[in-house]
């Protein structure tokens, strides 16, 4: 089974017709466009309900958009707009994540968060934050005074005045979770295609015919989860009521030595447009500083900027004075698929068999499983005759390799192979497994997210040539020209 699926996806299926389509020329029940965390979660939900689902992703791996570059925080929703779809989906998503994460070996760092006030004006807002949190049903949120804050976070600068404590804000692995969702979906019968950008489509009154640059795929229902491309793709069906206004966030990752500077996630008092610059440990044991919030017209390119990063470092140093002595190991940027509206833009077009799942701007990692359930209900209400949900069977629970700090890694237990990436402790075995797993890595990004290879402080100084050898013929684009020089 593994093999068949492996051959059916990505670049390796270039000119072979897919098994499922040739086995029966039936259209797919559902095509999900976009393999971000939202698309993966929706594919899972539909596949688990027995719906024949195909995921199309334009990148060479899942998570080619916002979902690869976020802060990786599981939010409780304490500061989300009350009565929003966003809040409902966040709460449902959060609970389901905690429920299933153990079964899939997805790590969670239960560190809690502190919303810290740095001046009188911010101090005055703390009560309101607690009140809103309680209104949102997050009842364990409370105020802590300066002294308590100091004892909990001795690394913070003296300017910290007081804080709101949010005990159940957690940190997760933003990459293994969606991979687990899609893996479970595949084991329940879903399929996926990478390098499959949807460029257009027609609705014949019964079915959709979606075109990618290499084939036309037919389905009964389309679910659009294309993130920053959401409004463009929506136009295949109808004129959307929203416009995507990408908002960029830049980050710095500090080396593992910096992680001990804090205990909880350090949040600022939020402004109307952004949650502000966060300091948090990552699940991998690094320290993360960011994001910025910068509006930009471009939908795809998330550039980092030296001067902005420098400013971020200054911001970080005002919060944590010892921060600048630690080494920066990575910089990155992500684009939030924001719209002119605050809330998510999820809607169904009952005449044209289409569901749009758009504007999942800054909480999609948390909310994705909740969004999936919401979309399933929306589908049942709108397309009850079209899409049949079966009672759930006992699903297969994939066990993901945990890359979390403190989790037992292959190099520790000994998998018989040597360490290749010394900064992140990645063995040859880890790499080989990622290249032959249920949804194998087919690009360097995919391999990095599955193993952490080349993600450390040396950026591949020690291991990139070795990785190129080990991945010969398996990644697009390859790391190096192959064959003799």
């Amino acid at each position: 089974m593994k093999r068949a699926i492996g051959q059916n996806c990505g670049h390796s299926m270039l000119d072979t017709p897919t098994n499922a389509q040739s086995r029966s020329d039936l259209p797919w029940d559902v095509i999900v466009i976009g393999g971000g965390v939202v698309g993966c979660a929706i594919t899972r939900r539909f596949a688990l309900a027995g719906v024949r689902t195909l995921l199309l992703e334009k990148g060479s791996d899942i998570l080619s958009g916002a979902s690869k570059a976020n802060s990786a925080i599981m939010h409780t929703g304490f500061d989300a707009p009350p009565d929003s779809i966003e809040l409902a989906c966040m709460k449902a998503g959060y609970n389901e994540y905690l429920d299933i994460s153990g079964k899939m070996n997805l790590p969670t760092m239960k560190c809690g968060a502190l919303v810290v006030a740095w001046d009188e004006a911010q101090l005055a807002e703390l009560d309101g934050i607690v009140e809103k949190a309680h209104q949102n049903g997050i009842n364990d949120v409370s105020l802590i005074d300066r002294q308590t804050l100091r004892s909990k976070e001795p690394g913070l600068s003296n300017g910290a005045l007081a804080a709101v404590e949010v005990p159940r804000e957690f940190v997760v692995d933003p990459w293994s979770a969606p991979l687990a969702y899609l893996t479970q979906a595949v084991r329940a019968g879903a399929e996926y295609r990478f390098n499959a950008e949807v460029t257009g489509g027609t609705f014949d009154g019964t079915n959709w015919h979606l075109s990618t640059d290499r084939e036309v795929l037919t389905c009964k229902l389309v679910i659009n989860c294309t993130g920053t491309k959401g409004d463009y793709i929506e136009r295949i069906c109808h004129e959307p009521e929203f416009e995507i206004r990408p908002r960029k966030g830049q980050f710095l990752v500090y080396d593992k030595s910096a992680a001990s500077l804090i205990n909880a996630i350090i949040l600022p008092v939020p402004s109307p447009t952004t949650k502000g610059v966060v300091l948090t440990k990552t699940i991998f044991g690094n320290l993360l500083l960011g994001p910025t919030a910068e509006e930009q017209p471009g939908r795809e390119n998330a550039r980092v900027d030296h001067d902005v990063l420098q400013q971020l470092i200054e911001t970080g140093a005002r919060i944590l004075p010892d921060l600048p002595t630690h080494e920066v190991t990575a910089t990155y940027a992500g684009l939030r698929p924001a719209t002119q509206f605050k809330d998510y833009q999820i809607s169904a077009n009952g005449d044209k068999n289409w569901i749009g799942v758009n504007g999942i701007r800054s909480t999609g990692l948390t909310a994705s499983l909740g969004i999936a359930t919401y979309v399933e209900q929306l589908c049942a209400e709108t397309f009850g005759d079209l899409i049949r949900f079966e009672p759930p069977k006992t699903p297969f629970w994939p066990k993901m390799p945990s890359l979390a700090q403190g989790a037992e890694r292959a190099y520790q237990t000994g998998d018989g192979t040597e360490i290749v990436c010394h900064c992140e402790g990645v063995t040859r075995g880890d790499i080989e497994r990622a290249l032959s797993s249920e949804i194998p890595a087919q690009s360097l990004g995919g391999l990095r997210r599955r193993t952490r290879v080349m993600m450390g402080r040396c950026n591949g100084f020690y291991c990139s040539a070795r990785v190129a050898e080990l991945t010969k013929g398996k990644l697009t684009p390859p790391l190096a020209s192959e064959g003799d020089l």
Binding site: L252, V253, D255, K256, S257, E300, N301, A302, R303, V304, D305, H306, D307, L309, Q310, T325, E327, V328, T329, A330, T331, Y332, Y411, Q412, T413, G414, D415, G416, T417, E418, I419, H422, C423, G425, T427, L444, R457, C458, N459, G460, F461, Y462, S464, A465, R466, A468, E469, P477, L479, A480, S481, E482, D484, L485
Partner: protein
Amino acid sequence: MSSHDYDVAIIGSGPSGIGAATALSEAGIKGIVVFERETEIGGIPRHTHHPSFGLLVFKRPISGPKYIQALRKRCQSVRFETRTTVTTLRKDGYMEIATPKGVKTIRAKHIILATGARETPRHGRLTSGLRPQGITTTGALQQFIYGANMAPFSHPAIVGTELVSFSALWTLRSAGIRPAAMIEESSRITAYRPAALFARLLRVPIYYNSKITQIDGIEKARGLEIEIADGRHETISCDGVIFSGKFVGDNNVARASHLTLNPTTELPLVDQNWVSSDPDISVIGNAVHPADMGDHCYIEGLSAGKTVAEILRDGIEDYEVVEITHDAGIKLAAPSIVRLKRQEETKINISFHVNAPYSGNVTVKLGDEIVHQTSKRCRPARRITLKNVPITEAKGRDKCPIHVSLADI
């Protein structure tokens, strides 16, 4: 306490680690092991195939692999364990090692860290732009071209003009690759001037006073935008970027341990015999002074190994620790502390690197007293050594530091 698995465990099989192993075995120490995390020994020279080693030790230039082979012959009885990574250091000679069989704890009477140096890559420099493939360092480039016989690009740009940047040029040339450009922040190259002729000979333009404003390319690198001091912007078409030089010690094991670090350089403190703040652990080679030539590291390893043999025989007597401080214009100095024994005259060699070019006197003071002064021409990224600095008088002065300054005073 359990007994010891080894007399001396050396971490890293580059020139400095091999040097230490050689001196120890020559001194008759039997239980020596060298742990090396790679599949082959040799450190940086392992993948530097052009003849840029050996002038001091063998009086002729030889290639890295040949250099290592020749050095290895001098310590044939020593055991080298490859595919073995030291992950944790603890007090009393305990350390954790990871092999393909998993992790275990072992113990040595003395540990020598010789983990080497690497370059500062793209992210550590906060370079602007996108994150395509093909962004690399000289060290990685050498492993691609010399080690794996693969090329990650066909017309890259080289950032930096240190010696190692020309090593990148040399490496590329051996693969028939002509880089698109070399990019330098200042108005002249950091390496010795004649190196610029090498670039000119190969028809590689050097852009001076230039800084990178953008790396372009989605999947593969497509170009580099630079801003030149006069405000001009230029786009260099290239399919890769090699960030060369700006060496840092690869000290993650030391940093995560109990060893005391210099708070500004984050390098482990070592005394005139390369012994760290923990008398059971020495740190040698480019891990403490990123980065000097391989020959220097080898010679230093020899002398550190000799001292460790003495420590194993005699123990460390009572001593007083004095710090070596320096002007801000000095980037790093080794040693960074001195252990003064009660009875002995002490003269030490102090090596250092500068941040910016300097010509003039270098002065060493004990409190107000000048104990050493020599005229030096200093360039960044090069080792400068002060020989036989008398510091016996620092004894009993109640922690008065030894200060190195770039001034006449």
